[in-house]
């Protein structure tokens, strides 16, 4: 690297001279404001957990049979004897996530390798813009695409009576999470030092051999983090799956079965639930669950990435 760019570590503290006390006071104020804003991210994450927890807690600690909650497929919150079993919803979320990742991981990693190693700078620029555009399409528009375009396409291709199912949602989710996988995966490949490539090249390796013998092992963690972030995106997606899955609470046995996901359940039912009653609070409990899942996924992705950085610095 030709330029040393601003890094947050190990820099000398600048001297403070020639400033009046008033100036210094103003400076102190603005610096505390900056610090406060910096800390705010923590505040917001805790805030999210706190307020979601606050609404869900009365149900979580009173009245909700957690064993039944996780092991029953009986989700019937509006009957006289309501039952709250989310196994079907969990299965719905899991099925679309797994199938979408089965599509998105090869596509995403393949595209990341192509963009990073196999194409000219101009094509690279164009592809990155296209992938950014793909990432910019709002989730409700993806839902619209699933509902209006992919739905008839799936009916035509498979002969299924309804095209809103696991397959539909998985294709949409794959297209939605691919940009994350591509950009994080490309970063991971870029982070492999060029000396590795040069050494392999000097030994007579072809570009493909460099990719799968040198880059894949070296960038393993970064690529894993890319996949994890893609999974996080797929689990948390709401509006698109609300439109695409067909919303039938059941454990799917084939990709052409309709399912309902955790996120879609909240989106579909919170509007009807009476504020403060059990149904309403159970939806917040699902929110807590989603928060925890997202937290774990992001935390592990972050730890994995940090793991590589630590190793590289050492």
């Amino acid at each position: 690297m030709a330029t040393i760019t601003g890094n947050l570590n190990e820099r000398p503290t600048p001297a403070r001279r020639g400033t009046s006390s008033l100036q210094r006071l103003g400076e102190l104020a603005i610096e505390s404001l900056i610090r406060l804003c910096g800390y705010s991210a923590i505040l917001f994450v805790f805030g999210i957990f706190f307020f979601v927890f606050r609404e869900g807690a009365p149900m979580l600690f009173g009245g909700l049979d957690l064993l039944k909650f996780f092991t029953s497929t009986d989700w019937n919150p509006v009957s006289k004897t309501p039952s709250y079993g989310i196994l079907g919803l969990l299965a719905g979320t899991a099925s679309v996530t797994v199938l979408s990742m089965a599509l998105a991981v090869p596509l995403g990693l393949g595209a990341a390798v192509f963009v990073s190693e196999f194409c000219s700078p101009k094509i690279k620029e164009a592809l990155k813009i296209a992938i950014e555009m793909l990432a910019a399409i709002p989730s409700i528009v993806w839902g619209f695409i699933a509902y209006m375009m992919l739905n008839p396409l799936i009916i035509w291709a498979t002969g299924a009576p309804v095209g809103l199912n696991v397959l539909n949602a998985s294709i949409i989710l794959a297209l939605m999470s691919v940009p994350v996988i591509v950009s994080v995966g490309e970063d991971a490949l870029k982070a492999v030092p060029d000396s590795y490539r040069e050494a392999a090249l000097a030994l007579g390796a072809s570009r493909w051999e460099i990719v799968y013998r040198v880059l894949f092992p070296a960038a393993k963690n970064g690529l894993l983090a890319a996949v994890l972030l893609g999974i996080g995106r797929a689990i948390g997606e709401t509006m698109a799956v609300l439109m695409a899955t067909g919303n039938a609470n059941q454990i799917p046995t084939s990709p052409l079965d309709r399912v309902q996901t955790l996120t879609a359940t909240i989106a579909a039912e919170l509007g009807e639930a009476v504020q403060g009653d059990d149904h309403y609070r159970v939806l917040f409990v699902i929110g807590i669950l989603l928060f925890v899942i997202a937290f774990v996924v992001n935390l592990s992705a972050d730890l994995i990435v940090r793991g590589i950085r630590g190793k590289q610095n050492a």
């Binding site: 804003c37 917001f44 619209f144 996120t263």
Partner: protein, 447 residues
């Protein structure tokens, strides 16, 4: 067909058989039906390997053609001993070519001719169990291993290219299909009219303005916090566990599902802060959701300002904040702006966070005069494009054919596609601004 072997080194090995004691019909050069003479075998080779260009190209690297003399009948054995060896090499060819390693023939045609001539002159006599071979003289050409490697690389490149293409194709297909379907309603009046007749006619003015409201207010809330947080992380934070926690919080804030943000908005703003379902509550929810976008891009923009800019400033006696204000921020403002624009695009497209915090199903607003630009109050809900699209898909019933016939209503599909195109157009336009700005920046970078 003659024998075609693929020896282990990847070269191709063609074998044509000649029977020493010919009888009966002319063979085709295989072990079962050997040719009757070397001349016949050469004719066969010429027929199979000839082309319009000098066909030595068809003999790659270590490829070889053998003419094997065998016994006819069940005693025939494919394995033979080499008796003569001839060479072809377009690079080493001279007028005096005789097919030896020193003076090779220039191409396969002349090689075959040369062998035929020698055969006619009686210079070649193959006993059963012997063969003559014709191969490319190797000096600098790629070895079969190299060629296989290159072939694999080619395959990998094409396969990966196709994979990448399979991401671009849906994008183009989706965009063109949306525009094609929405074309009938894409007129200025679609933008500037309110939805009418139970949302079966009119345009998207009220949702469009609502989206502007939400985006603008969330921007006002998120950008100062986000930019200052970015400044903190890049300029103030030291490398310790606390900074790591802050970074982790930013990553997690970005990773929290949008519907959980919606629940947070309901719990914190709608109920706890008593804002009710309002523009303000929805904007606050959107602001917090899009905060990480601004923080991350601000930090990147600041980090790209060279360290020696700061050092020079400090050496002049400037304080840390003075350095940031006069040197760091002006040099990174466009990068920060890129992030802010991205925030706008994110906020405009989100639906889930505003579902229960302030999006209204239907409102009429003035479409004329100054009032039409400021129709919503902060305490009330507003329509929004993304939510409007959701409503158009799930809750609006299409108009009756008579109403469409009478011109009072538009077909539902047209309205749906129209709304989708306006939303996606808005988001992609804003995004293109961000991309354009970034490319402009990179081209003008001073360091």
């Amino acid at each position: 067909m003659p024998d075609k072997n693929l020896p282990e080194n990847g070269s191709t090995h063609f074998r044509y058989f000649v029977a020493a004691k010919p009888n009966g019909s002319p063979g085709d050069g295989t072990l079962e039906h050997p040719s009757r003479s070397i001349r016949d075998a050469i004719e066969g080779i010429r027929a199979r390997h000839a082309g319009d260009s000098p066909s030595v190209r068809r003999l790659n690297g270590y490829d070889r053609i053998d003419i094997c003399s065998v016994l006819k009948g069940p005693a025939a054995k494919a394995e033979t001993k080499q008796r003569y060896e001839f060479f072809v090499d377009p690079l080493g060819a001279t007028d005096l070519a005789i097919g030896s390693a020193q003076l090779p023939w220039p191409d396969l045609e002349s090689a075959l001719e040369g062998v035929a001539k020698m055969d006619a002159e009686g210079a070649i006599s193959l006993a059963a169990g012997e063969h003559l071979s014709l191969s490319v003289r190797e000096v600098f050409s790629a070895t079969p291993v190299d060629r296989r490697k290159r072939r694999h690389e080619r395959i990998a490149q094409i396969a990966l290219g196709l994979v990448t293409l399979s991401l671009v194709v849906p994008l183009v297909a989706i965009l063109s299909h949306l525009i094609y379907k929405a074309w009938p309603v894409l007129t200025p009046s679609f933008l500037f009219e309110n939805p009418r007749n139970q949302m079966t006619a009119g345009g998207v003015w009220a949702p469009l303005i609502g989206t502007f409201y939400l985006v603008f207010i969330s921007l006002i809330i998120a950008s100062p916090i986000g930019v200052l947080a970015g400044v903190y992380l890049n300029e103030y934070a030291r490398d310790n566990w606390f900074t790591r926690v802050v970074n982790l919080a930013v990553v997690n804030l970005a990773g929290v599902p949008s519907i959980v943000h919606a629940l947070f908005g309901v719990g914190a703003f709608v109920m706890f802060a008593n804002m009710g379902e309002s523009v303000l509550a929805a904007s606050c929810t959107l602001a917090i959701m899009t905060l990480p976008v601004i923080i991350t891009s601000t930090r990147e923009a600041l980090a790209s300002v060279p360290m020696n800019f700061r050092e020079a400033c400090w050496n002049m006696g400037a304080s840390r904040w003075q350095t940031i204000r006069t040197i760091v921020l002006p040099n990174s403002i466009s990068g920060i702006l890129t992030g802010v624009i991205l925030q706008v695009s994110r906020a405009a497209g989100e639906t889930a966070p505003i579902l229960f915090t302030g999006a209204a199903l239907y409102m009429t607003i003035p479409t004329k005069g100054l009032r039409s630009f400021f129709p919503y109050s902060l305490q009330d809900g507003c329509m929004a494009l993304s939510y409007h699209l959701h409503v158009m898909m799930t809750q609006v019933k299409g108009a009756s054919p008579e109403a469409i016939e009478a011109g009072k209503s538009l077909p539902l599909e047209h309205l749906q596609y129209g709304t989708a195109v306006v939303l996606i157009g808005l988001v992609l336009t804003v995004n293109s601004f961000s991309i354009g700005l970034r490319m402009y920046l990179r081209s003008r970078k001073k360091w």
